[in-house]
Symmetry: C2
Subunit: 763 residues, 2 copies
Amino acid sequence: MKKSFAKFLTASIFTFGLAGLTTSVGAGSLEDVMKARGLTEKDLLAAAKTYTPTGGRDEFIVFSSGGQSGQVIVYGIPSMRILKYVSVFTPEPWQGYGFDDESKAVLAQGKINGKTINFGDTHHPAISETKGEYDGQYLFINDKANPRMAVVDLKDFETKQIVVNPIMKSEHGGAFVSPNTDYVIEASQYAAPRENGYVPLSQFNEKYRGAVTYWKFNREEGRLDPSKSFSVELPPYSQDLSDFGKGPSDGWSFTNSFCSERYIGGIEKGRPPFEAGCSQKDTDFVHMINWKKAAEVAAAGKVKMINDHPVIMMDTAVAEGILFLIPEPKSPHGMDVSPDGKFFIVAGKLDTHASVYSFEKVIGLINAKDFAGKDPYGIPILDLKKSLHTQVQVGLGPLHTQYDSKECVVYTSIYVDSQVTKWDYCEGKVLDKINIHYNIGHLMSMEGDSVTPQGKYLVSLNKLAIDRFNPVGPLHPQNHQLIDISGDKMQLLYDMPLPLGEPHYAVAIKADKLKPKVRYKVGWNSRTDQKSEYRTRPGREKIVVKDGVTHVYGTLIRSHITPEIIEVEEGTTVSLHFTNVERAEDETHGFAINNVDVNLSAEPGKTVSTTFLADRPGVYPYYCTEFCSALHLEMQGYLLVRPKGMKVENASVSEGQAYAQSDYDKQVKTNVATQEVIDSVVGYIVARNYKDFAPVLALVEDATDQLNFAADSKKKSEDAAGKSDWQNATLWAQQWFQYQVKAADIGLRAKTYLDEHGAKVVQ
Amino acid sequence: MKKSFAKFLTASIFTFGLAGLTTSVGAGSLEDVMKARGLTEKDLLAAAKTYTPTGGRDEFIVFSSGGQSGQVIVYGIPSMRILKYVSVFTPEPWQGYGFDDESKAVLAQGKINGKTINFGDTHHPAISETKGEYDGQYLFINDKANPRMAVVDLKDFETKQIVVNPIMKSEHGGAFVSPNTDYVIEASQYAAPRENGYVPLSQFNEKYRGAVTYWKFNREEGRLDPSKSFSVELPPYSQDLSDFGKGPSDGWSFTNSFCSERYIGGIEKGRPPFEAGCSQKDTDFVHMINWKKAAEVAAAGKVKMINDHPVIMMDTAVAEGILFLIPEPKSPHGMDVSPDGKFFIVAGKLDTHASVYSFEKVIGLINAKDFAGKDPYGIPILDLKKSLHTQVQVGLGPLHTQYDSKECVVYTSIYVDSQVTKWDYCEGKVLDKINIHYNIGHLMSMEGDSVTPQGKYLVSLNKLAIDRFNPVGPLHPQNHQLIDISGDKMQLLYDMPLPLGEPHYAVAIKADKLKPKVRYKVGWNSRTDQKSEYRTRPGREKIVVKDGVTHVYGTLIRSHITPEIIEVEEGTTVSLHFTNVERAEDETHGFAINNVDVNLSAEPGKTVSTTFLADRPGVYPYYCTEFCSALHLEMQGYLLVRPKGMKVENASVSEGQAYAQSDYDKQVKTNVATQEVIDSVVGYIVARNYKDFAPVLALVEDATDQLNFAADSKKKSEDAAGKSDWQNATLWAQQWFQYQVKAADIGLRAKTYLDEHGAKVVQ
C-alpha cells in the first residue's frame, strides 16, 4: 500500500514538483469573469494597475500612523497590501513587543510620572531625510495622548526608543524632520501649565502655554538626544501641524494653530462648547520660528529650565527675533512647505480656501520689521495679505495639501465635500476634482513632502468607510483610496480597508530606498543594537544562578528548544534567555510558557529574554509559537516548579516506548535511502548556475548546516549502536532523519526556485 | 478675494459635486499598463477574478486565527482585503479592548491562578452551526498557551466571554463545534498532571494526562456554560486536532495525536530531543469518543471532580464504551470529517499518505467488539487496515484536508513539498497539484468543514513568505494564497501578506449569512449585552459621588464631550462613563486623557467607562481620539486635579476673545445664508425617491437631528441676544452654524449617494 519514504521523495521532487506548475489559464474567459463580477473596462484597468502577481514587488512603501492603536502600519503601493504592523507604543505579542525583557525596556522609557502607558495615539510619521530627500533609514512617530516621540529603525522595522516630552500634556504636530534630520518637531496641542501641577482654568491666559519641542537626532546612534533638545514656549493657542523650511526657507519652521480664541469650554455650565468657542474668529495663527537661531539661543543658555528641559520663553524668543505670527484662515489643519521651499500652503477647515504663503514676502516683512501688530503675548504679527502669494477656493473643509512631481501641482483633501482638489498653486487655479468615500482627513503623495516628490500616486486617507466594504459590526474600518495622478484627470484605483487602527497621516518612500536586513548577528539584542549579554551558542547552553536569579542561557533551532526540561524550586526568579541560532532568514521561532504572560519572537540571530517569579509549584509546558518546520509541534519542553523544600528526586525516567535493534536497522535503512535522494537533489542544484541566485545560495548554506547536524546525529546514533544501546541508537537515528527531512525541505525549495527562475545547466 | 461661505457651499454641492465624478479611463491603455507592469494574460485574469471596485462586496468572509497575536483576523474573498482585527485575548486600544472597564471585565475572566494573561496563542476558529451548516451567529477561538476558549458575537464582532480550562496546561485542538453547536471541543496538547501542582517527569506515564473538554454552549445567552461542561480523561499522548461527526457519525468526535511514544525529552542531558523521540513510531492514535453517551455519563455523575470540573476518567470511559483508539500514520495534524459524515481523513506529517477512514467500518468493528488490542491504559485499539477506506500518496508532509462542493474531491496541504494536492477520496487518486509559496500549514475551502461546502475558492495558509513581498525586516509576514478551484486545474489567484500575527487555521462563511448590526441601543454595555447602569442622555449628564468614587455620567456627540471640564481633588477615584448618543452609524467617538492609560472606543449607542485614581495634582487634557467631524480636534476637555485640601476658587474666567453685536450679526448673516443652501439640498433630496435607499434614509434622519440641534442653539443665541449678552449670543450662533455644517456634510453625502445610485425625480 505504501511506497518507501525515499522513493516517494524522489517522485515528489522530480515529477510532481514540476507537474505542479500549472500554466493553463483555467476556468472562465476574461469577458466571462468581467460579466459575472460586474466589472467595467475602467475597473479592469484599475485592476491591472494595482494587481501584483505572486512574488511581485511594490514600487512604494507606505508608513501610516495607526492612530490610537499605537502602531505604525506598513503597506505597499500599488498593491495596497498591508505588509506589517510595527508596534510602537502598544504591546503586541506576535512581535514579542512589550513581552520580552528587551522591548519592555523600550516601553519603560515611555513611562510618565512613573506610570506605564500601554498605548499611544500615533498621528504623523516622518521618514529621516538627507538634504531634504527621504533616505529610508529611520521613522519617527508621535503620541498625541501622552506627548512622546518614538524612533523606528528601518533596518529591522523595530521600535528602538521612546522619549517623553518634558513640558507638554498634549500634542499633535509631530513628527516632522529638518532637511538633514538634525531635529524632529513635536508641537503641543491643548495648552497646559508649563510646569506639572494644578493651575485653575481662570488663569488660562496667563499660565497655560503651548510649545514646540525640537528633538535633536543623533544619526550615528540612531537615537534622539534629549540632552541636546530644546523647546520654544508658545501662547495658549492650540498648536497643530508643522513643517520645516527648505532651500530658501531652510532654518525656519512653521506651526499652525486653531482656537487662538483661547476659549475654555464649559458646556456643563450651560456655556457653548469648545467647538463653538474655538471656531468663531476668521483667522488663527501660523507660528514661524527661526529654529537655527533658536538652537543657538538655547546653546547660549538663554532658556528657562522646566522639568530639567531648556525652554526658550516667549519674551526671549521675541527679543531674539526668532518667533513671528501670521494670520491664517480659519481653524487650519495642514502645513505644507513646497519642494523648493519658496511657499507654504495652509487650509482652514472652516474656510473654503487654501492659502499659499510666499516665503520671500514673509521674510521681507520680517527683515523690514513691517508688522501689522502684536498678539496679547507681544509676538509680532505679519499682515495676512502682504504674506500671501495667492488664495484658491478649493472646497468645503480643506485640510491638507500634498505636492506632485509636476511643477506647481498640488492636491488638497476636502473633508466636508469628500473630495480631493487638484490645483495649481503658482497660477492659483483649480485643475480637477475627484469624489472619495468618505470624509478624507490627510492625503499623501509619493515622497510628497520631500524636495523631490515622485508623483504617480496619491492616497486619500478617508475616515468613514461605512458602505464601502462588507459590514463587520459597529466599529468600521477606515478606507485608504489609491488614486492615479499620472494623467490630467485623477483616477480612483483601489479601496483599502484598514483593519486595525485609525490612521491620520502617512508617508510613502520609493521601495528601493529601503534596505532592511533579514537576520541579526548571532546573539543580538535588537533593542539596544548591541550583542546581548545573555547570548549563547549551541552546545554552550547553561543555567547560572546570579544575584538570586536563575538565568537559563538557551538556544532555539528547528525543531528543538535547549534546554527541554528546566526544574526550579518554588519562589525562584527565573530569567530565560533564548538565542535563535538559525541562519535561514525565515526561521523565526517563538516561545510561550503556560501561566506566564509572555510570548517571545526570536528572529534568526536574536537573543530574547523573559523574567518571572516561579511562585506556584506545578508543571508548565513551553513550546515554539511560530510554525517553523514539519516538527514544529514537537518543539516543546517543560518547566517544573518543585514545592519549596522538596528534595530533588533521582528516580529514573521510564521510557514510554522501548526500541530494539530492528527499530534501529529500519530507521537506518530509511535514512540511507533518503540520503540518496538528497544527494540527487544536490546534484540537480549544483549542475545549474545556482550561485547566480542569492536566495538559493542562502538555502544551500542552510541545507549544508542541516546535513552537518544530520552527520552529528548519525555519529551519536552509531556510537550508541556500538554500545548496543538500541534505545538511544534508534532515537538519534530518528534525529538524523529529521535533519534529513529539513535538508530535503530546503533543497526542494531551492530546486523550485531554480526551476521558476530559469536556471541553466552549467555542467 | 473670497466668496461667501454659503455661495461656495451652493457651488460646491451643485457644480463641483457632479463634476467630480470623473469618468474617462485615464492615462494608459490596458496593453500599455500590462507591458509596463510585466503582467501576463493569466495575471490579468487573476486580477479580474479578485479586484473589487469601490463599494463592491466580497462573496465570502474569512475568520482567521491570529496565532500568538491573540486576535482574530477578518478578511474578504476574493478581494483578500483585511476588514478587521478582532481582539480576543490581547488588549488593543483602537477597539478600547482591555482599556475600558467593560472589556477589562471580559479579559479578567481569562485570569489563571489570579494572574493576568495579556495574550493568547489562537489556533482554530469555528463558526457556530445549525444542522451542520454555518449559521454566522458566533465564533469560537482557543488559546494554546494558556488553555482558554473565547466567544465572539458576530452581531457586533466583539469578544463576549473567555473561559479558562480547569484541567489543562496546554491545548491545541480547539475550537470545533458539534452540528448544532451544543458543544465546543477543546483538546489538550502537551500532557500534564490532571490536578495543579508538581509531579516529577519520572511519573509521566502514570500521572501526566491529556483530555478533551466539551464546553456546553448556551445559544440563547450566547455564552459557554462551564457548569454544564465536562471532560474526558485521555492518555499522555499529545492530542492534536479534532472534529465532530455528522450524519451517520453524529454523536461521535475524533481527536488525533502525536508523540504516542510518550517521550519526555532531555537534550540538555545529552538525550535526543523531543522531535526525535516523538516521531519514531510509524503510527499514533485517533481518539474516537461517543460524546453523546459521554454527556449522559457525565450527567449521571460518573465523574471525578478535578478543580470543580467533572472529568470522565479513562477507566470509566472504557467501561462505558465511549472511548476507542485507531492507529493513524505518523505524527498527524488534520482531522477532517466528510460533509456526509461517512469518512474522516487524517494525514501524517511524516508519512506521505492521507488516510481515509470509513465510519461504517469503524463503528462495525466497535459494535462487533473486534479490537486489535489495548493501549497501556486499557483503551481498545481498532485495526488500522480494517478501519480504512483507502490511503493515497499525496506528498511530503501532508497536514490538513478540506472538502470541495464537488463530490469526493478534497484538497490536502503538503508542508515539505510546498504544494496543495487535489485528490479523490472515494476513488483514492490524485487529481492535481499546485505549488504554493511556501510551506503551507492549514488550508481552507469555503464552508469546507460544514455539511455543505461551497467550493469556488481555496486559501493556502503559508508559513514562510520570505521572497513574496517587499522585505520588512527579519520578521516576515505570513502569506495566504487564494486559489481558484472552480475548474479542473487549481489556479493561483492572489498572494496576501498577513501584517500582524501568525494564522493557523481559518474558516470562511458566505458573506450574506452575516448580519452584523451597525449601532447599539442607546446606553448599551456591549460586553454584557445589557443596558449599562452608567448610561445617560443628553441634558442628563451628571456627576455622582458614590462609595467614595466620583462617577461622571457623560455623553459624546459630534463635536463635543459633556462635561468639558471636570475638577476633582487629589486622591479621588474617578470613574468616567460616556454614552455615544449618535445614531449615525459611522459616528464612533474615542476618548483619551493625558497620563491615564486609556483609550475608549464608543461606537454609536455604546456606554464605555474608565476608572482611575487621580493621584497627582495637575491639568490633564482629554479629547476624542476618533476623527469624527470637521471640528474633531475641538472635541476636547480638561480634567483638573486640585491639590488635597486646596479651596475651590470662584474666580471668574477671563475670556480669551470678546465679541460684540457686530460679531453676532455677521455670524447670523452667515447662518441664514447657509440655511438657504441646506434647504435647497433638502429640496434636491426630497424631490427624489430617496426613501428607496436605506443609507440615505439614515443620513436624512441624522441630518434632521443636526438641524434640530441647530434650532436649539439658534434659540440660545437669540435668547442671549435678547439680553444683549453678545458674548454668548455670538458663540451660540457659531454653534448653530457648526450644526449647520454637520447637516450640510450629511446632506452632501446623501446627495452624492443618490447621484451615484441613479435616484429618480419623483415630484
